[in-house]
Amino acid sequence: MKRWIAFWNILMKDVRTYYLKPPNVSWGLLFPLAWTGMFFLRSQANARDILSILTGLVCVSVLFGTTSLLAVTITFEKKNRTFERLLLSPLPLNWLVLAKTSGGILFGLANALVPVLLACFLTDLSKVGWGQFGVAVFLLAVSSTFLGLLIAVSVSEVFEAQAFSNFFRFPMIFLCGLFFPISRLPFFLWPLSFILPPTYGADLLHGAIEGIQLFPGWLDLTALVGFCLLLFFLSLWNIRRRWIL
């Protein structure tokens, strides 16, 4: 119970002081809106096209939503020493890290809703498998948050965290089959695609929305869960190694 009180208050504090700050909310809404609007306009409200780009839009929204503020909630708090104060509390490190990242996960999920809501008005979404869609979005959000976390705990400066996360985010848009299938990439880039978590999330989403999947569902799920655990424990290890000297 005590841990839950601590967990909840850390999450609420981050939501209040970071995620719900007007600039971040408007960025969180505008960014997916702009992407979505741009793509939907290009497809000229052709139902098939909208469905085929919805996956990519949801992925991009999640990817940017989850990682946008980790440089602040983690790297910046380490620099101004409030993270050190958190480390002095009796909350176990894994709880603490989960509490500090769950804001990012929630923000990513909220961002994912923007393209879906827009698509609702433009096309018929009745064929979408919402169960699989939900699972995919959730695992995408968790894995990309933890990827951002790993970056945030591996650098010391805020700008480094931001630069590195862009270094990952933008290539992933092309490498992970978000807007066009991986099979259209040159074959030497395939191994790169297979080691990036969004590839599997995007695959699940394609399956849920259009019914086309590259891998079997169990493989996507296993890969995503595996990435989440790997990234989480790597981050914990890095905090212990670099921050608790």
């Binding site: 119970m1 005590k2 841990r3 009180i5 601590a6 909840w8 208050n9 850390i10 504090k13 002081t17 101004n80 020493r81 409030t82 050190e84 104060r85 958190l86 480390l87 002095l88 509390s89 009796p90 909350l91 176990p92 608790i244 000297l245």
Partner: protein, 331 residues
């Protein structure tokens, strides 16, 4: 007496530099124990080691006969480095509260980390704001506080879970005279309420005034550890002549000890030294001796021996760094 902290042979390296070199000491329940030393001596590192924010290194291979012990509140930190954290309050040398939250919100937030429920948190926050005299600015953002107010709120934040042991890292450094005084008053108040306090400082007077027992730390090593009155004993009643002068010639110490073999001389800086007052040493004769040696005398004054003299004697280091800080003055 209960021993709240027991440290034996504690080592810590950062890369090539050894920040803490095999220190040993104990802190008793209910006392204010002071770590007195210049910047870079290893004070903060020691606090980090005692609070689980840093991990001790093994004893260097060339000293196999020694082994490290590290107990805080009866818990072995070598085995359970974070198990003790709910029993400690820590006020670091820099502020580490949330600038965008108010004083009241900060206290409520930090209390929640210890699993304290909402109603109790709010009561505790109000009570602490009252203790540290910040009720009036409770709703202001922490970012807008002055340094002194920030430090007082940091102390309050360290007390949210009613720890019996409080670490204070240079609590008055960087504060103006009035703010420093009010922080010291707060420390005394906490001590009287029964809190054991581990305090670091580089102000000699502060250590002398606040602490029951003191350890001198210089370059990661501890000098004598004793009560302030015991430390002062060897210099009690002694008087010194402090001489401010131009640059001293080389071999000055040798020449001096040839002329005044039984008078102890302490060179404290390029243009400053002191000698113990003795019947053999007359001021006019001393001045004349200095002038013939080519030393320009600016000022000679008599002063009572203080903790600073003990410090210089024990550590054998030049206290210039400490002196500089002192020049800024304490109330």
């Amino acid at each position: 007496m209960d021993r709240v902290i027991v440290v034996r042979n504690l080592w810590k390296h950062y890369g090539e530099t050894a920040a803490v070199k095999g220190i040993s000491f104990t802190v008793h329940a209910g006392e204010i124990f002071g770590f007195l030393g210049p910047n870079g001596a290893g004070k903060t590192t020691t606090i980090n080691l005692l609070t689980g924010l840093a991990r001790p290194d093994p004893v260097p291979a060339e000293r196999p006969e020694e082994s490290t012990e590290l107990f805080v509140c009866g818990i072995n930190l070598l085995k359970h480095p974070r198990a003790v954290q709910h029993l400690l309050g820590v006020v670091p040398d820099e502020n580490n509260l949330y600038p965008e939250l108010s004083g009241y919100e900060n206290l409520c937030f930090w209390a929640s980390l210890y699993g304290i429920r909402k109603k109790e948190r709010q009561e505790r926050a109000r009570e602490l704001l009252n203790t540290v005299n910040l009720t009036e600015v409770a709703r202001e953002k922490f970012a807008n506080y002055s340094r002194g107010l920030k430090r007082r709120l940091a102390i309050a934040a360290a007390l949210v879970h009613r720890p019996g042991l409080l670490f204070l890292d240079e609590p008055t450094t960087g504060l103006d005279v009035a703010a420093a005084r009010s922080v010291r008053r707060l420390i005394t108040q906490l001590h009287q309420a029964g809190t054991t306090i581990f305090l670091t400082t580089h102000y000699l007077e502060e250590a002398e005034r606040l602490c029951q027992r003191l350890a001198f730390i210089v370059s990661g090593r501890l000098g004598r550890i004793d009560t302030v009155s015991h430390l002062l004993e060897p210099v009690q009643g002694k008087q010194f002549l402090e001489v401010l002068c131009g640059p001293l010639p080389p071999h000055f110490q040798e020449v001096f000890s040839r002329v005044y073999p039984e008078v102890s001389l302490l060179v404290a800086g390029p243009g400053r030294f002191q000698v113990e007052v003795s019947p053999r040493l007359k001021v006019p004769a001393l001045v004349q001796f200095l002038e013939t040696e080519g030393v320009e005398v600016l000022e000679v004054k008599r002063k009572q021996a203080s903790l600073e003299d003990v410090f210089v004697e024990i550590t054998g280091i030049e206290a210039a760094a400490i002196k500089q800080e002192k020049a800024k003055g304490l109330p």
